[in-house]
């Protein structure tokens, strides 16, 4: 059975060209990048080249790129690192942040910091008025994600910048989902820190970066050998870093085409979804071109998901990270979506290789499943 992958916001398949540059670092004798002999120096050079590739893709300076083990670590690092610098301060975030921004803030709360939440509108965005509701003065960090992983809704970064400036706080955006799907320019966003992940842009898993403005000062999360300018210790994951660098280069080249391509697929999908009676979340605001988050009234999401997987379609219910638990999406609840409807939510996220035929096949499969489920419900009733 042909398998169709519609879950690119969870993870992406490695680009063959990325694998090509990684292979020598997996297969051949390699040095520890900190070693002084030629093996070590060679590894060091490769890492610095990758750092330049990452910087170039987002219009940052190479010295602003700190490699981490992934997006989760980068987000934990900025929350913990900014908080420690300013004891008893307030940490501000939107109420739809990924758990790896939200939970570290909760953890700091237990240690004496305060937390203030920016509530999103029913379309899933933070508005100018919402920022005004934050009365706390001693704010150390404000974090609002660039694009939401579930709805794909894109936030206004100029509002974040203005708020941070007014409060004299560090601004941070989790750009894990936005990077590679929209043009992300660190120099024009005027944000102090930004999180990137490799495995969402056809790079390997296990590597990401925190982009940190040169003027910003934070404490490390992991101490040791002093790698990454003392901000992130540990022997560098060289193969993955080299792969991440290449993936950044490739995604910069292909971004516009991919974005246009997935937009076409999304248009086809959403027309049919609405035809079948689906509710599409964050429909009215600017969203990523590849993401559709939707639900059918009175249809159990998990049943639909399993049935579609059996037919060869890999889609998601909310985010992969939390798909272990059956709680309704916290993003939808934050948007004020009814709990039952939220429980049925499904996410489709397209990628470079998806085709219009796949989308049409999916719609057909979905139509049949919906009929079966409705019949079953009718019998049960």
């Amino acid at each position: 059975m042909q398998k169709v992958y519609f879950d690119h916001n969870a993870t992406t398949a490695l680009d063959k060209k990325v694998l090509g540059v990684m292979m020598p670092y997996i297969e051949m004798q390699q040095g520890n990048p900190t070693s002084q002999h030629s093996f070590g120096r060679h590894a060091r050079t490769a890492i610095e080249e990758a750092r330049e590739q990452v910087a170039l893709a987002i219009h940052a300076h190479p010295s602003e790129v700190i490699f981490t083990s992934g997006g989760t670590e980068a987000n934990n690092m900025i929350v913990h690192g900014a908080a420690i610098k300013q004891r008893e301060s307030t940490l501000v975030r939107s109420n739809i942040e990924h758990p790896c921004v939200a939970r570290p803030m909760e953890a700091m709360k237990h240690q004496g910091w305060k937390q203030a939440l920016l509530d999103v509108s029913q379309d899933g965005v933070v508005t100018k008025e919402t920022y005004k509701n934050i009365s706390a003065e001693n704010v150390s960090l404000v974090s609002v994600m660039l694009a939401n992983n579930e709805t794909g809704a894109i936030q206004d970064m100029s509002l974040l910048h203005e708020f941070a400036k007014e409060k004299n706080a560090l601004s941070h955006t989790d750009a894990v989902q936005a990077f590679g799907k929209i043009d992300v320019r660190f120099d024009e966003l005027h944000i102090d820190a930004m999180t990137l992940s490799s495995h969402k842009i056809y790079g390997p898993q296990g590597v990401g970066a925190l982009i940190l403005n040169k003027r910003s000062d934070i404490e490390p999360l992991i101490y040791g050998g002093g790698q990454e300018k003392n901000l992130r210790s540990g022997t560098e994951n060289i193969a993955a870093i080299v792969g991440f660098g290449k993936a950044c280069e490739l995604v910069s080249e292909s971004m516009k085409a991919t974005s246009a391509h997935t937009y076409e697929l999304k248009k086809i999908l959403e027309v049919h979804l609405k035809d079948l009676g689906a509710v599409i979340f964050s429909e009215k605001v600017v969203r990523l071109n590849n993401t559709t988050f939707f639900a059918f009234k009175d249809i159990e999401g998990s049943t639909l998901l399993t049935a579609l997987d059996k037919k060869g379609f890999a889609i998601a219910s909310g985010s992969a990270c939390s798909s272990v638990n059956k709680e309704p999406s916290h993003v939808l609840l934050a948007m004020g979506v009814d709990e039952d409807l939220a429980r049925g939510a499904l996410r489709i996220s397209f990628g470079q290789k998806n085709s219009a035929t796949e989308v049409r096949d999916f719609i057909e499969a979905l139509r049949k499943e919906l009929q079966t489920l409705k019949q079953l419900t009718a019998i049960a009733a």
Partner: protein, 407 residues
Amino acid sequence: MTKDIARKPIYLDYSSTTPVDPRVAEKMIPFITEHFGNPASRSHSFGWTAEEAVEEARDEVAKLVNADPREIVWTSGATESNNLAIKGASHFYSTKGKHILTVSTEHKCVIDSFRELEREGYTATYLEPEPNGLVDLEKFKKAIRPDTVLASVMFVNNEIGVIQDIEALGNICREQKVIFHVDAAQATGKVDIDLEKLPVDLMSFSAHKTYGPKGIGALYVRRKPRIRIEAQMHGGGHERGMRSGTLATHQIVGMGEAFRIARIEMQLENERIRKLRDKLLHGLQDMEEVYVNGDLKHRIPHNLNISFNYVEGESLIMAVKDIAVSSGSACTSASLEPSYVLRALGRSDELAHSSIRFSIGRFTTEADVDFTIQLLKEKIHKLRELSPLWDMFKDGIDISKVEWAAH
């Protein structure tokens, strides 16, 4: 490119990092390309395949150290594992007390985690080892206080390769109800580790020191009696809440395979490597004024750390460019400070500076060792010919008693 490879020096720096075993690389590749799913995706088969592979690898890691797979938590490497274990357990049990104990010759990421806890208000003791690099059990016992919450001692030292008596140290910790953490980054595949028997609560592992990929490691967290730790990376709640973040499936698969190979081949490999090491040792000991750093009996067969007296450290490293070795540990080799480990053993700055760590591994051949002995003999001879100190020594002058004129 081919030319470049041909000129590459002989690699004798396996304690710094090892190449990925070709069998490991082969096993990893499909998980980069075909089975690329996110192991946390529960809604489709891409995710399930990845999850299955992750659990299989967890079994392999557990098997090498005779632990329960549920006691293995994936991390990005030993540095993260050490940070997580030391800070995580000290924080969780902080009500018990705020004194922590370690040894001055630990890896930098252990020392730095301790320093961070000190900044948070903990008191730390950095025990000095004996001149042979081993921890004296009585001194260790005496260093434990009623408010000691955690002790951390490495299994095998990265610079001098000495093996600590983990069982005895662990028993002392058990008696005193102190949580015992062991950094085993340099131990896996080199010494037998049986966590059913060893009284250890937390143990850190690294893949890239055991022919696995970089960027992946694990932390053993004992279940019986259960040890709790505070997470330092929060998020999706992966690894039962102890370490969030998408798991790098191919790297985990690589670590599993590397540890499986280590389990099966360790005995034979250690014998072979011991012979090479002994050959290297005897070859180098032909020369005068050559000192082995660290105990030779309680030591992994892979390591030889030697100081060459009356040779200037920097020129020594420059002279042996045809072999890739370390002076001090790789992590601190960017600095020109003499190794803090060797100084803790009571070595003078001069001897610490003129030390070389040779670490032998799976792909080292007898010809490599022969070449190295020949190279060292030749270069040391030359360097000493240029050294006025060597002349003085040869003339029978005790240099330590010379009073140098001030300028």
